[in-house]
């Protein structure tokens, strides 16, 4: 395909300075550092458009995790020997690096298995301090990870779960917020970026309103850390969670970041080794924060590797990565829109969205779409994306989703558009 006028970045979107610098559209950023992108799938070069599910990992991350197991492997916080001291340094180094990345001191960073376990820690940890009839406000666009733990804690503690509705344009209906924030609201839980609609939520605005009512704010930043430039304080939340693996890091690692004194309000939800201070046969006292929330042996190998991902992000700069994702998203919205017959979800303005686009083609079920695209080497997500209530409100059981990372380029979206045409042709459309 030649690069004609129609393929230029849409008006109003500044083309970012890609690494290649050889095109008037976005160049891929550091794509040659991601080994998996060199492979072929079903005989075609891989076109990876599923970064919202998990980003690919740069070689430096893969090497760091391997190096940990080759050179240092030992359990942490039992540093009686050299390897143990090294492993502890790497593990604590990750905590500090994450703190630095988000602008908080290391002691306010809890290491978890992922965003889901961090949300379970917040929900389960706040639960005992809540009283029957207290209210929790979640939004209608939450991932199951930021919904089901609240459903469960509400059931257990006799709480009332309320839902902040969405506008027709797929944004939070802030007009409904004052009436839903009541004197009984104790917790407001919302996602920073919707994993289906792409919507970037005005977390700071919601948090300010919630704080005026005395509620604490929990933000699911799984889709935003490593993609959007922000600090913890800018969001104004009391608790922030994210997974390393959606921010170019390894799987099995996530974080809970707390505001000043926020972690003090949580009861531990997992008990055992590492989280205690003193144990007798019938009693125990908890270790200091954040260690009391880290029972058992953590994923030290992943923690040793994650700083390399944050280094890669910082080398590219979040500002440039954000500009890149806006450019890709704007182009995807434009090309998908021009195909005709597709329903595209979420805000129309790429600057109000994260780097993903969900769509529905009435002619091709998302499951078939994903399968046929895969036959062309194109990886997209199909299904309910762990957001069944949202899909119910959209009137579909499933959608297809293309999502972007630093290594994508406009060419990948061209491949997607061609692939959708192919899928339609299979079904005679």
């Amino acid at each position: 395909m030649t690069r004609g006028d129609s393929l230029r970045a849409p008006a109003g979107v500044e083309p970012c300075a890609g690494q290649a610098g050889d095109c008037n559209r976005c160049g891929r950023i550091f794509a040659d550092r991601f080994p998996v992108l060199g492979r072929h799938v079903n005989g075609r070069p891989l076109v990876y458009l599923d970064s919202a599910a998990t980003t690919q990992k740069p070689g430096s991350v893969i090497a760091a995790e391997a190096r940990y197991y080759r050179e240092h492997n030992a359990n942490v916080h039992r540093g009686m020997h050299t390897l143990g001291v090294e492993a502890t340094d790497l593990y604590e180094g990750c905590r500090s690096r994450v703190g630095r990345f988000l602008g908080v001191p290391a002691e306010r960073v809890v290491v978890t298995r992922g965003a889901t376990s961090a949300l379970n820690l917040v929900a389960g940890g706040l639960g005992p301090s809540l009283r029957p009839g207290d209210e929790i406000l979640v939004t209608a666009m939450e991932h199951h990870a930021n919904l089901v733990p609240w459903i469960e804690v509400a059931r257990r503690e006799g709480l009332v779960l309320r839902h902040l509705p969405l506008t027709a344009g797929g944004e939070l209906d802030l007009d409904a917020l004052p009436r839903l924030l009541t004197a009984r609201t104790r917790v407001v839980a919302l996602t920073h970026v919707s994993n289906v609609l792409g919507t970037i939520n005005p977390v700071a605005e919601v948090a300010a309103a919630a704080h005026r009512r005395g509620a604490v704010v929990v933000v699911d930043a799984a889709q935003s850390v490593g993609h959007l430039p922000f600090t913890f304080d800018e969001l104004g939340a009391d608790y922030l969670v994210f997974s390393a693996h959606k921010a170019y890091g390894p799987m099995g690692l996530g974080f809970l970041v707390g505001g000043p004194d926020a972690l003090e309000r949580l009861q531990p939800v997992e008990f055992g080794g590492e989280m205690i201070e003193t144990v007798t046969l019938d009693g125990a006292t908890w270790a200091a924060i954040p260690y009391r929330f880290e029972a058992g042996t953590p994923n030290v190998g992943a923690a040793a590797a994650f700083p390399a991902a944050l280094d890669t992000i910082d080398e590219a700069t979040l500002q440039r990565l954000r500009q890149h994702e806006i450019s890709l998203t704007a182009y995807a919205l434009e090309r998908l829109g021009r195909l005709g017959g597709l329903t595209i979800y979420g805000p129309l303005d790429a600057a109000r969205r994260g780097g993903l686009v969900s769509f529905h083609d009435p002619m091709v079920h998302p499951h078939d779409m994903a399968q046929l695209l895969d036959s062309l080497g194109i990886a997209v997500r199909a299904g309910h994306h762990c957001a069944q209530p949202l899909h119910r409100s959209l009137g579909v059981v499933a959608t297809s989703r293309a999502s972007f990372g630093m290594y994508n380029a406009h060419d990948d979206i061209d491949a997607l558009i061609d692939g959708i045409g192919y899928a339609r042709s299979v079904f005679g459309a």
Binding site: H365, H367, D368, H391, V426, F427
Partner: protein, 158 residues
């Protein structure tokens, strides 16, 4: 088509998907009913059966699913009519076994019709649940039939 897609989307399957059978509501009373879900993708299916004189006389399917699930439900509607509940159960169980076996053979005496083509889907592990959804829903409807108790919703995760 490419990369084995012609093996998955066989012409018979595409035909059932384009003009699925069993979409008309049953003319008379519903004797058995079940709902099925595939939690991994959200697909949903409702199956209703009418029976007379010890045999299934008709099936009505509402399927919100992919081409494979839709075609499978269409084949089901075509195949169960005229069978006794026992025969329909035997066919569903044979199909479930075939989808998890390497050769995927359905015995001729089951009179499997287009279902034989559908066994090709077993080469695409991610789609086996799609093909099975209507048939496990049928088993659930048959479990419920007769004693008037409603069927527990069938799920591909069971």
């Amino acid at each position: 088509m490419n990369a084995g897609m012609d093996e998955l989307y066989r012409e018979v399957i595409l035909d059932h998907h384009r003009s699925p059978r069993g979409r008309e509501p049953l003319p008379g009373p519903v004797d058995a009913r079940a709902e099925g879900k595939n939690p991994s993708c959200g697909d949903e299916l409702v199956l209703e059966l009418a029976c007379a004189a010890g045999a299934i006389t008709g099936a009505h399917v509402e399927c919100r699913g992919c081409a494979i699930a839709t075609a499978s439900s269409s084949i089901l509607a075509e195949l169960v009519a005229g069978r006794t509940p026992q025969q329909a159960r035997a066919l569903a169980e044979a199909f479930r076994t075939a989808m998890h076996s390497p050769d995927g053979v359905l015995a001729d005496d089951l009179d499997p019709g287009d279902l034989e083509v559908l066994t090709g889907v077993r080469k695409f592990p991610a789609r086996v649940k799609c093909a099975l959804l209507p048939w496990i829903t049928l088993l659930s409807a048959l479990d419920a039939g007769g004693d008037g108790a409603p069927a527990a919703p069938a799920t591909t995760e069971a």
